[in-house]
């Protein structure tokens, strides 16, 4: 999909919402990719973390609203401690999750706890709290 | 993680002198000067005693600890009980110095 930038571009509103929710400077990112290099969950992600930031910089709302990668982020902050620009990428992931949830797109999968009675409550509660607010 | 100690690539190009320590145990009166000053700490006390009743130095060489033939023990010994003959040059096993 070609992104048409310019006056018809909707004034980076989506990017601004992400910045407001995460309190991170999206445009400090120079796309070095270090977050993606070390992300433990990136194998399962459809967009690498640096791409998530890039799409936000491009104000590409459709791409981010349908992005599954943010649901694989386990907020381990490996990206944040190593980011050369001090951007907390986990917060940006959370912001995109929040925006997706506000849009009613969140709970498409249920925890698989029914078929695994041994799951400790810490797993259930944290999963619930992280993804179902 | 402690900083790595790298092996030195061209160690084999360097040789160090190797001395053979000769100890005349019966002259020794156990003043310990040689043990104290040996820079490579190749000397140790004997377990038995000489006829004067003193412990005397014995050689304790390992891969890393060998006589480098500085001959300082010769100089400090008040009883001329120790001397060194430089016999061969050895490949250095590891880094040394103070």
């Amino acid at each position: 999909m070609k992104i048409i930038l310019g006056n018809s571009h909707p004034q980076s509103l989506f990017a601004q919402r992400i910045e407001a929710l995460s309190r991170q400077k999206l445009f400090a990112c120079y796309q070095c990719g270090k977050c993606s290099s070390g992300c433990p969950m990136a194998e399962s992600m459809d967009l690498l973390p640096n791409r998530v930031i890039r799409e936000a910089q491009l104000n590409n709302e459709p791409a981010l609203m349908s992005c599954r990668a943010v649901w694989f982020c386990s907020s381990c902050f490996a990206c944040a401690v190593r980011c050369p620009k001090g951007i907390d990428i986990a917060r940006i992931m959370e912001a995109v999750r929040t925006l997706q949830m506000m849009d009613g797109k969140s709970i498409t999968e249920k925890p698989s706890c029914e078929d695994n009675g041994t799951l400790p409550q810490i797993a259930l509660i944290s999963h619930f709290r992280k993804f179902n607010m | 993680m402690p900083p790595v100690k790298r092996k030195l690539f061209n160690l084999d190009q360097y040789q160090v002198p190797r001395g053979k320590v000769q100890i005349i145990s019966e002259r020794c009166k156990g003043c310990s000067l040689c043990l104290e000053y040996c820079p490579n700490k190749v000397l140790a006390w004997s377990t038995d005693y000489n006829f004067k009743g003193y412990r005397y130095p014995v050689l304790e060489e390992t891969e890393e600890k060998y006589c480098i033939s500085c001959r300082f023990c010769e100089e400090v010994c008040p009883d001329f009980a120790i001397y060194v003959t430089t016999e061969l040059t050895a490949k250095p096993q590891s880094t040394q110095g103070k």
């Binding site: 120079y30 796309q31 070095c32 990719g33 270090k34 977050c35 993606s36 290099s37 070390g38 992300c39 990136a42 194998e43 967009l47 690498l48 640096n50 791409r51 490996a78 190593r82 980011c83 050369p84 620009k85 001090g86 | 993680m1 402690p2 900083p3 790595v4 790298r6 092996k7 030195l8 690539f9 061209n10 160690l11 190009q13 360097y14 040789q15 160090v16 002198p17 000053y37 820079p39 490579n40 480098i68 033939s69 500085c70 001959r71 300082f72 040059t89 250095p92 590891s94 880094t95 040394q96 110095g97 103070k98």
Partner: protein, 653 residues
């Protein structure tokens, strides 16, 4: 009776657009003491200047106000005009009605009113101006060059070849600096030491060069034209004049330590020549490694074997003092330690090395004889990963700036590795490729296309050991994939930082350094070769990371700056400096601690003998801090006296 002249510049439309210059002229003409008021299209033009000069003579003007642009731009121009007309240049002042007036106002009436107020203020200030004369100071025709790398060598040669004496001070036992460590140089791949060694020899044999190796500058007093330098010569414990460089001392030396010149990859003895081409070619005893101490001579093996009798364990450090007229700082750089980067293993992995260590491996005279080997087991590495921006462009963990040379030397490393190990694989992780020099981009393109080196656009997140291999976690942001490489060797292009002694030197020399520790230039664009202290010039990586080409250019430039200073017997200094009214000085000494240039000292008064402030006119930069700080108003900044400033304020408000 004061006869004032006011000249108002239109600066094309720059001023005239929002300032009614004609009305301004009419109003200015009515001000007290003004005998002539004129406006003109471009006063800085030749006809404009001629007009002013003619009017000064014709109308016997004794003070002139030029209402135009900032004095920073044309202050000198109009001062010269005044001088040509026979008027003391300090009796001509400028009123800036452009930068903060016409440029920032949209409304014409407002602009004109503000311009008038500025002119009134300027006239008030001018009325109390005093004629000043510049003074002179002699120039010692010798130069001190600190640092014996390629920058210092080049600067010293350029100065010496012009017939002036040079003291070249090098901290280490040999000249050469980092360039001597390099294998081949980008983008032409000529052998670094082959092009450097002749210069090292040349500088050491030049009759005008006093080479002080194994020495450090410990003190500098004085000022432009006359610096008194103290150099501490560290004892080599080998007499330079007797040592023949035969090397007979080495085999019997029992102490083996890592060789700094080989970046810790090779060995040397406690008595050593850092590298075969070292200049001066005399041996040095590393007292920290030697078995002997100041109190005890334990080992005399080298002494016994030296037929020239050059070994002297009792050598003492020496101090040498001399005077120079100018200083060239060429203290170079070093690499940020790998230990800084925890996620790359810190300094914990033998097979993670920095760029300079790789250079030593590539160098034919290096510890591996030019063969690329793994430090851990000596094997030829089949997979080599190069990581650019290790510490650079990383304000959170390293340094914020781009180290400038890493893109190029990494490309060169990859190429030389492929030449050495044709069946090996080299990978380069990069964020951006910065190859903005002559032939640089072409070189990188060649490395990519001809050598088939895989460039991966992404920063490495983690390096760790797995068995005998190193695992590199990276990303290829172009394909949007994570990348994992099992490497035999990882070369980190560590950030270029100022050499470790440079902060101490900056304090010794009273010169400024930037946030990163590099010496600050006097102006980033127009005076890049000069420090903020007159007479001290900058060359090479001491000012900022740069490659050999740029270093040599800057060194020659700095030498040129020093030479143009030495071409004068005297230097003219601005008279707009502080002066002390001794009768008012209470001798509190506050000004001494305030002065950032060390220009104020407490001296006994010539009249009363009491301790009063004295200004060294050569060191004083005319910043006015002492005048502002003086509790009894004893200090005046000439050309900006309190009388002048208050008069200006009074007229304006």
């Amino acid at each position: 009776m004061t006869r004032l002249g006011v000249f108002i510049c239109h600066c094309g439309k720059n001023i005239a657009r929002t300032v009614d210059t004609e009305a301004l002229r009419e109003k200015a003409a009515t001000l007290p003491h003004v005998v002539l008021a004129k406006d003109y299209l471009y006063l800085c033009s030749k006809p404009g200047q001629t007009m002013i000069a003619d009017d000064i003579r014709e109308h016997h003007l004794d003070r002139v106000l030029v209402a135009a642009c900032s004095p920073r731009l044309h202050g000198k121009t109009f001062a010269q005009t005044a001088q040509r007309a026979g008027l003391n240049p300090y009796l001509l002042d400028m009123a800036n009605i452009r930068e903060q007036c016409s440029w920032v106002h949209i409304d014409g009436a407002e602009g004109t009113e503000k311009a008038f107020s500025i002119i009134k203020g300027g006239l008030g200030r001018l009325l109390y101006a005093e004629p000043l004369e510049p003074f002179q100071s002699p120039v010692t025709k010798r130069v001190l060059v600190i640092g014996g790398g390629i920058a210092g060598i080049q600067a010293a040669l350029d100065i010496a070849n012009s017939g002036y004496e040079v003291y070249l001070v090098e901290k280490l036992p040999s000249l050469g600096g980092h360039m001597a460590q390099l294998g081949e140089t980008f983008p032409t791949l000529d052998c670094s030491s082959c092009i450097l060694t002749p210069k090292m020899v040349e500088v050491s044999q030049n009759e005008h060069v006093h080479l002080l190796s194994y020495s450090e500058v410990t003190g500098i007093e004085g000022n432009i034209g006359q610096f008194q330098v103290t150099v501490r010569l560290r004892p080599r414990y080998v007499d330079e004049t007797l040592c023949t460089g035969c090397g007979d001392c080495v085999p019997t030396c029992p102490v083996v330590v890592p060789n700094e010149f080989d970046q810790g990859l090779g060995a040397r003895k406690a008595v050593y020549l850092p590298f075969p081409q070292a200049v001066p070619a005399v041996y040095t005893i590393d007292w920290d490694a030697c078995l002997n101490t100041d109190k005890l001579i334990i080992c005399e093996n080298c002494y016994k074997n030296c037929e020239a009798g050059a070994i002297n364990f009792l050598m003492e450090p020496q101090e040498k003092m001399f005077e120079v007229g100018a200083v060239v700082l060429a203290t170079g750089y070093e690499l940020m330690p790998v230990a800084h980067i925890g996620e790359y293993g810190g300094d914990g992995y033998e097979d993670v090395i920095d760029g300079l260590q790789f250079e030593r491996m590539l160098s034919a005279s290096g510890p591996t004889g030019g063969v690329v080997r793994r430090p851990s087991d000596g094997r030829i590495p089949q997979n080599v990963v190069f990581v650019q921006c290790s510490g650079s462009r990383d304000p959170e963990h390293g340094i914020p700036y781009c180290s400038k040379v890493c893109c190029m030397y990494t490309a060169k490393h990859a190429l030389l590795y492929k030449h050495a190990v044709p069946d090996g694989q080299a990978y380069v992780f990069y964020i951006d490729i910065r190859a903005a020099g002559k032939g640089h981009e072409e070189f990188v393109q060649k490395v990519m296309s001809e050598e088939r080196i895989l460039y991966l656009r992404g920063k490495v997140s983690k390096i760790f050991k797995s068995g005998a291999k190193l695992v590199v976690w990276g990303a290829d942001t172009l394909s949007g994939r994570q990348v994992e490489i099992e490497a035999d060797l990882v070369v980190l292009a560590m950030a270029v930082i100022p050499s470790s002694g440079s902060q101490k030197l900056a304090r010794t020399l009273h010169i400024a350094s930037d946030l990163s520790g590099f010496f600050s230039e006097a102006h980033p664009k127009l005076r890049p070769l000069e420090s903020n202290t007159d007479g001290i010039f900058l060359a090479g990586a001491a000012q900022f990371a740069k490659d050999i080409t740029d270093t040599v250019s800057q060194a020659t430039g700095a030498a040129g700056k020093a030479l143009s200073l030495l071409a004068n017997d005297f230097i003219k200094l601005e008279p707009t400096i502080s002066g002390v009214e001794e009768g008012l000085c209470r001798g509190c000494g506050l000004c001494v601690s305030i002065c950032p240039f060390g220009a104020v000292k407490m001296l006994p008064s010539t009249r009363t003998g009491a301790m009063v402030a004295g200004i060294n006119p050569i060191l004083c930069k005319g910043c006015g801090l002492c005048a502002a700080g003086c509790l009894s108003g004893a200090i005046t900044l000439k050309g900006s006296s309190f009388k002048q400033i208050f008069a200006q304020l009074e007229e304006m408000v």
